[in-house]
């Protein structure tokens, strides 16, 4: 991309330098925007992939391999990147961004600040700071902790995707693992009980102890009298039982990074409500990724679909729309974001889980089951107004994780069937963020 930038003119600000921010940047330049782009990043490294953090912790990727884009590539996009520059306030009225390093104005702004792990419901009684997994810093801390020679047992609290990937990393480091989760099954909100149970069977086969339907009640740090350096964590569960671990990983979900947004500045649900071009209720501010609540196609409602691809596509949409608007085309001739369908793929050691669409089984939906020795497929069909049955979701659990295998092909095939629905959706992106928030 050849960029000839003028020194005056509009400034596009991007708050956040993750996948949504990078894709906004790429799309802005790809759509021909040659003006100034200023990126605010609260880290001092290149953008990393949160997906790869667990691979680093588990020893499958090096630290360097977790950064999908090199300096040379990002440099070619010619943005002013403000590293270690935390945004403390966004003032949409004055078009001003206040940061730890100074105050900056903008013409258009994209909020792509991502999400942070929540520690909520982790016992307050302990001074122990549990391990979390999101950033490379988190990953480095986790890896350092669990690879200490005297670390033998790890407790993972949570039943989400992040919890399971952290669990796999620990298994890959040869640790004994216990997973505790408030829910009665793993893969909260993503799996039907039968699929979750099959996945749990795979975890048990890997030697994982499962404490489902339980929470941590108390954590007490205990110093081992035989080793001055080794402290252990005595954990009391809601069942009343007590066990001792060396480290605790907490993965209790994520919350959007929107501390810099003042109450009432934007229309909000769980995150910033956006229209079909990723515009918030302020026409000069866009949002993408974990901070954006956009249309989810199965329900037709606005939801956060927090995954890598969605963040990338939304960031690109915001970039194209801004470039189009700044070029004077107020009608947004560029393709909008009609919505997304949630998809998930996770493998823990040899057990693969793949899903897409909704897991909500209502009176108009039924579940069809296929199971053999290798695979379980649960398909959710919905009866349409014309009496036809439409696939709206599926779970696939397989006893082996082989890239390119039938399980991956089947998962992709079923995902495509759900996505057929996309073509029947009105392809005109709506231009108001204020519809159908959950």
């Amino acid at each position: 991309m050849t960029i000839r930038r003028s020194s005056t003119g509009p400034v596009v600000a991007i708050i956040g330098y993750g996948v949504a921010g990078v894709n906004t940047l790429i799309a802005l330049r790809g759509a021909g925007y040659q003006g100034k782009i200023r990126v605010f990043s609260d880290i001092d490294t290149l953008p990393y992939s949160p997906i790869l953090t667990s691979y680093y912790v588990g020893g499958e990727k090096t630290f360097e391999e977790c950064f999908p884009w090199c300096l040379e590539e990002l440099g070619a996009l010619d943005a002013e990147v403000m590293n270690s520059c935390r945004v403390v306030e966004l003032d949409p009225e004055k078009h001003v961004i206040r940061t730890t390093e100074g105050i900056y104005t903008y013409t258009k702004c994209v909020i792509a600040s991502g999400a942070t792990p929540m520690n909520c419901s982790f016992t307050d009684a302990s001074e122990y700071e549990p391990l979390v997994l999101r950033t490379m810093k988190d990953a480095a801390r986790m890896k350092a902790a669990i690879t200490k020679p005297d670390c033998e047992r790890v407790l993972v609290s949570g039943a989400s995707m992040v919890a399971l990937k952290a669990l796999e990393a620990c298994l890959n480091q040869g640790l004994k693992c216990t997973l505790v989760g408030m829910s009665s099954h793993v893969l909260d909100f993503n799996a039907l009980p039968k699929a979750a149970m099959r996945f749990e069977k795979g975890l048990r086969n890997e030697g994982v102890q499962l404490r489902l339907g339980q929470v941590i009640k108390a954590v007490k740090e205990k110093v081992n009298p035989n080793s001055l350096t080794r402290r252990r964590l005595e954990v009391t569960f809601s069942s009343g039982e007590t066990e001792v671990f060396d480290e605790i990983i907490v993965a209790h979900g994520m919350r959007c990074n929107l501390d810099f947004v003042q109450n009432g500045s934007f229309e909000m649900g769980e995150a910033l409500l956006v229209d079909g071009f990723m515009r918030t209720s302020d026409p000069d501010v866009y949002a993408a990724g974990d901070v954006a609540q956009a249309t989810e196609l199965i329900s037709g409602k606005k939801r956060i679909v927090g995954n890598w691809k969605n963040a990338a596509v939304q960031g690109a949409c915001a970039g194209r729309a801004i470039a189009s608007e700044l070029a004077g085309d107020r009608l947004f001739t560029e393709k909008g974001f009609i919505g997304s369908i949630p998809t998930n793929t996770i493998a823990v050691k040899d057990t693969l889980f793949n899903s897409a669409g909704t897991m909500e089984v209502t009176s108009r939906r039924y579940v069809r089951e296929y199971e053999d020795d290798d695979m379980l497929i649960l398909s959710i069909f919905q009866e349409e107004a014309d009496g036809t049955m439409r696939l709206v979701g599926f779970n696939l659990v397989c006893n082996e994780d082989i890239p390119g295998s039938k399980a991956y092909e089947t998962g992709a095939m079923l995902t495509q069937r759900i996505k057929r629905f996309e073509s029947s959706v009105d392809q005109t992106p709506h231009t108001s963020p204020l519809i159908q928030a959950d």
């Binding site: 991309m1 997906i51 590539e73 070619a76 890598w308 390119g404 092909e409 992709a412 057929r420």
Partner: protein, 399 residues
């Protein structure tokens, strides 16, 4: 625009790829070159960044032998996309890379001249000409009275270039059956443009489909019945692109909804169905099972490219042959392999003619109709046509 025509596509792909490496583990072509899909996009952009001229860019890409191998040896089968956590579009990436390769003369012309299916002569039309395979009587919309007078068709039948060339009797029998089902049918015996796309002529492939779409519109047909899922995809895309209200339907689905009864019994040997890589959502497979009266869960299904995808044979014949072998190895011994795409059937037939195995190879239409494909004759004819008088003519029109 930079030195590469499709750099925007590579940037988009680069933005969406985590570099997790899952695609490499899934694909024999990528693992042979130790490249990820994102790595292909990045390598192209790097070559562009570091080159001052088209000549230099070409030289840089040629130097990167892994990149050239990865782009040219891709079967475009979607195995990597299906394994990718983000389902990033590998086909789009490689098609565009081949467009740039074509622009930079990195695909030798002798590998694609016979596949220029938008020209008067290509390997299929030449074969048909040499062996007098002619369907002009079935192209009803083009008969004497002119297109306008012949616009009263409700169905257009699209057998695809392979079936039309290698199985003319079967093509005619299917056509007759569609008529017997009470439909006004005309034949569109053209190629959907896949070979052009494979060779990096994206625009020409689209233009060809647009032209065919216009022809179908002129027939008055509102339904296009396709034998092959790849043809159906290309034509459906063209209808959408041109805003035409023509429905694309698989032959199997059409036969089922019309109450067709198969003209022969199923073979005794267990069936092993091959899901075409172009059958992205498996609907062709399911519809074929339905017309055959079998339960797709009750018979074995194998996935992935037969080896013919992406015209890999024009670049690395051994790699293509290994892929065919890999696929057939996953078939239960003694099965009847049933493929959806006639080119897959051709590819398996060619392999089996040189490598004896217990498996039988059939196109699904051969299980529905009386006529069968005589592959021995087809391969004999291919061998003969390049000699003597026809050989000289072929050398003239195809090279």
């Amino acid at each position: 625009m930079g030195l590469l025509e499709c750099s925007k596509v590579y940037w988009e792909f680069t933005g969406q790829c985590t570099q997790c490496g899952h695609c490499t583990k899934a694909c024999a072509s990528l693992s042979a070159t130790d490249m990820t899909l994102g790595g292909i996009a990045k390598a192209l952009l790097r070559a562009e960044r570091n080159a001052g001229s088209v000549k230099e860019l070409r030289a840089r890409i040629v130097e990167d032998t892994r990149l050239v191998q990865a782009v040219r040896s891709c079967f475009l089968c979607d195995l990597c996309t299906n394994t990718c956590f983000a389902h990033n579009d590998a086909n789009g990436l490689v098609y565009h890379a081949r467009v740039d390769f074509q622009n930079l003369a990195l695909i030798p012309s002798d590998t694609w001249l016979s596949l220029q299916v938008d020209q008067e002569w290509d390997i299929f039309t030449a074969y048909r000409s040499v062996y007098n395979i002619d369907f002009s009587d079935l192209r009803r919309h083009m008969l004497a009275d002119g297109p306008k007078a012949q616009a009263g068709f409700d169905l257009a039948f699209f057998p695809g270039c392979s079936l039309a060339a290698y199985a003319p009797e079967l093509t005619r029998e299917i056509f007759a059956s569609l008529e017997e089902l009470g439909r006004e049918v005309t034949l569109i015996d053209r190629c959907c443009g896949s070979p052009l796309k494979n060779a990096g002529f994206f625009n020409r492939a689209e233009a060809l489909c647009n032209h065919i779409a216009e022809e179908i519109l002129g027939t008055g047909a509102t339904k296009l019945v396709c034998v092959c899922p790849g043809c159906a995809n290309n034509m459906e895309t063209a209808f959408v692109r041109n805003n035409l209200q023509i429905e694309t339907i698989s032959l199997s689905a059409f036969l089922t909804e019309s109450g067709f009864i198969p003209k022969r019994d199923l073979p005794d040997a267990p069936l092993c169905l091959s899901r075409s890589c172009q059958d992205h959502d498996g609907s062709y497979l399911e519809e074929t099972c339905s017309v055959l009266g079998i339960d797709s869960f009750a018979c074995s299904v194998f996935e992935g490219c037969c080896g013919a995808g992406g015209s890999v044979a024009t670049f690395d014949h051994k790699h293509q042959s290994q892929q065919t072998e890999r696929k057939l190895q996953s078939v239960p011994k003694g099965s009847t392999v049933v493929s959806m795409c006639p080119t897959c059937t051709y590819t398996y037939a060619l392999y089996l003619s040189n490598n004896r195995r217990d498996e039988i190879n059939k196109h699904y239409t051969e299980l529905l109709f009386e006529s069968q494909i005589d592959w021995d004759t087809v391969f004999d004819r291919f061998g003969c046509m390049w000699t003597g008088e026809t050989g000289a003519w072929l050398a003239h029109v195809l090279t």
